[in-house]
């Protein structure tokens, strides 16, 4: 297939997908004798050669602990780790690298905020405001906090298209609201939330906002200063980086007031049995030896995306999503779940007469990987009265031809169950 095929309708600035595909070694394989079509990117994305090489290079040439040794390898490792933090800062347009805390993933980032900011600021009778489209990782940490503090978890409803009810949101913001936690992009529906409006409304009530950006960063430019959010969380592995590394951004003045998260090495300035003084942010929130290779890998992954051009990455994703929405939506018996006006990254759907699991198995035999199930968003499934959906999710290396293969696979499943 020619590169020109991808460029149709996108103009000369479109991604060279054929070249990009060569950067991802895993794509060059067959599954059950069919060319691999990987459409499960919202679960985890594949890794480009540059990321894999960077991790190997670290372990082969300068593996060492950071912030400790005066020896050369430790200094090299520390420098690379610092550079990765600076790359993250640049990627999300934070004001200072000290506002970037490395964590295991978006899940740990939310837990960190709930356990530090939350425990310090949420008391009996207070309220935490989330939305009906959150991933379990942006529900359960708040439930744990609310249970401990005898606070209330309040939930902003969504409409039948999967869009947030902004009017209800405004009404639910109360003098007892202590924090708003909201997804930038829904992992189960693809809905892009109107963050600026949400943050503006919350801030008008002096309520800070945590944004779960796990599904957003792979698909759009994020500028945390322009958004004005107080916290922004994302995982490395969904944006071409390794698993086990993620980011919590926090505004400097908010982080400065927060109690520590985990205790241990690296997060302290001095320790005696009587008293411990803590290190400065971000180190205060990074107890123990960090995932050094992971951070370095994430830095390289973000450089890779910035090298492609995040606007071109976003345009490619929108192009694929529009194409998939049209083609999959046109199949008899398909019902799209999540039809918000603004969507990114994922297409969720159910089929008459074919359960998502059966579809997943049949597609797998065609070499096509999609996710089936509740997507760790059971309240979303309950909202739509379904136990599960099939979800195809896209990345920079996906093509319209792959979406055509998905459509053929869905038709095959229909034949099996006809």
């Amino acid at each position: 297939m020619s590169t020109a095929a991808y460029r149709t309708g996108l103009g000369p600035a479109a991604l060279d997908v054929e070249r990009i595909r060569r950067d991802f070694p895993i794509l060059d394989q067959t599954i059950h004798g069919k060319k691999l079509v990987y459409l499960d990117n919202a679960a985890t994305s594949q890794k480009p050669r540059a990321v894999i090489d960077a991790i190997v290079r670290y372990y082969e040439h300068y593996n060492s602990n950071v912030h400790r040794g005066v020896h050369t390898l430790s200094m090299r490792a520390t420098e690379a780790h610092d550079e990765a933090r600076e790359t993250v800062r640049r990627f999300i347009q934070a004001a200072d690298a000290s506002e970037i805390i490395f964590v295991r993933g978006a899940t740990e980032a939310v837990n960190l905020v709930a356990q530090t900011y939350g425990r310090a600021n949420v008391g009996e009778g207070d309220e935490v405001l989330i939305t009906a489209m959150e991933h379990h990782s942006n529900i359960v940490p708040w439930q744990i906090l609310c249970q401990e503090k005898h606070a209330r978890l309040r939930v902003v409803p969504i409409n039948d298209a999967g869009e947030l009810d902004l009017e209800a949101f405004e009404k639910l913001l109360s003098p007892r609201t202590r924090i708003v936690a909201v997804a930038h992009v829904s992992n189960a529906l693809g809905t892009v939330n109107p963050l600026r409006k949400i943050i503006q409304l919350a801030h008008a009530h002096d309520v800070p906002v945590l944004v779960d950006g796990a599904q957003a960063v792979p698909h759009m430019a994020v500028d945390v200063q322009a958004l004005g959010c107080d916290f922004y969380a994302f995982s490395g592995h969904k944006i071409y980086g390794p698993t086990g590394i993620g980011v919590l951004y926090g505004k400097e003045e908010v982080l400065a007031e927060m109690p520590p998260y985990q205790g241990g090495g690296d997060m302290i300035r001095s320790v005696t049995f009587e008293k411990t003084t803590y290190n400065v942010v971000p180190y205060m929130f990074e107890a123990g030896t960090p995932d050094i290779a992971g951070a370095i890998g994430l830095g390289v992954a973000l450089e890779y995306v910035m090298g492609l051009g995040i606007d071109r990455v976003a345009a490619h994703g929108q192009d694929l999503l529009a194409y998939a929405t049209e083609k999959v939506g046109a199949i008899d018996g398909v019902r799209l779940i999540g039809t918000a006006q603004h969507r990114a990254g994922v297409l969720s759907f159910v089929l008459d007469n074919v359960h998502p699991h059966d579809l997943g198995t049949i597609l797998d035999r065609e070499g096509i990987a999609i996710r089936t199930g509740h997507h760790c968003a059971q309240p979303v499934m309950d909202r739509f009265g379904i136990p599960a959906t099939a979800r195809a999710s896209f990345a920079v290396y996906n093509t319209k031809e792959e979406i055509d293969a998905l459509v053929d696979g869905i038709r095959k499943a229909h034949e099996v169950f006809a």
């Binding site: 359960h355 699991h357 035999r365 509740h374």
Partner: protein, 152 residues
Amino acid sequence: MTDDLGQLYQEVILEHSKAPRNYRKPESANREAEGYNPLCGDRCTVFLDVEGDAIKDIGFQGSGCAISRASASMMTQSVKGKTKAEAARLFEEFHRLVTGDEKAIASAQDLGKLAVFAGVSKFPARVKCATLAWHTLQSALENKHEPVSTEE
């Protein structure tokens, strides 16, 4: 359809999934249990009319994929009228069959119609779909009150 898929989605299984038998709560039911697969959200409730040691009647309700519905449907047919011990033995054999135990596959004819589930063994990700109803039956027979999960 590839051979493996054909083995999995046999005509009998497709037919049971579309028109499951005993999809009801028997009026005489004196025991019930709920089963849940937290990985995929499949749910199954099994109702039993147990008298002494005998399973006099059985029904099920729930939502799930073709494999789990067909398995539940065919399970109700095969354990109705059996003793508790016979049902437990059947589950043991069935479990060995769908997890690819060669001896169980070789002697699958002893399982009667249930032998059609041998194809599941080629799809490890689907074993839990095939066994959800059976786990739930076991729980109902043991009169457990907590919902049974495939992840325990």
